[in-house]
Symmetry: C2
Subunit: 88 residues, 2 copies
């Protein structure tokens, strides 16, 4: 079965975000009333798995080992079974 995962990798709240701070100050200079900007990663993965549980398990491993640095980042993901989407 084919699954599409949308993975969101974000810095932990306690971690400074220099890129976000830079965007925030640029926005302030442009007179936008901005309170905060946090920049993370958005990853789309299409993979094959036996079932949804296996897909979730594999994604957890991939996030831990490749996509997110557990020391400074959190991750979450949404999973879509493409077979169901195509059936609609």
């Amino acid at each position: 079965m084919k699954f599409k995962a949308q993975v969101y990798v974000t810095l932990r709240p306690s971690v400074l975000d220099p890129a976000g701070t830079a965007v925030q100050s640029a926005m302030k200079q442009m007179d936008y009333h901005v309170e905060s900007v946090r920049i993370g990663k958005y990853v789309e993965v299409v993979l094959e798995a036996e079932n949804e549980d296996q897909a979730k398990e594999q994604l957890d491993q991939v996030c831990d080992r490749l996509l997110a640095n557990p020391v400074i980042e959190n991750y979450c993901f949404e999973l879509t079974n493409l077979a169901l989407v195509e059936a609609i």
Copy 2:
């Protein structure tokens, strides 16, 4: 009024994604059955605006000028009125 925007910046489909390709080949070496990996940006912005329309207009400007390169990237965003969330 305070709004929270979740902005997704992704490479246009026709644009190569070397970072995504690198993750994809690493996943293959780990025996995952992966079809594709595309890496983009996920940005959370908290800003003040008169109303939802103004917030959308400002976000479009910020995306065009600061967050996305219109030549190679697409963007979309979801907007949440934090006043409503806090009221629940």
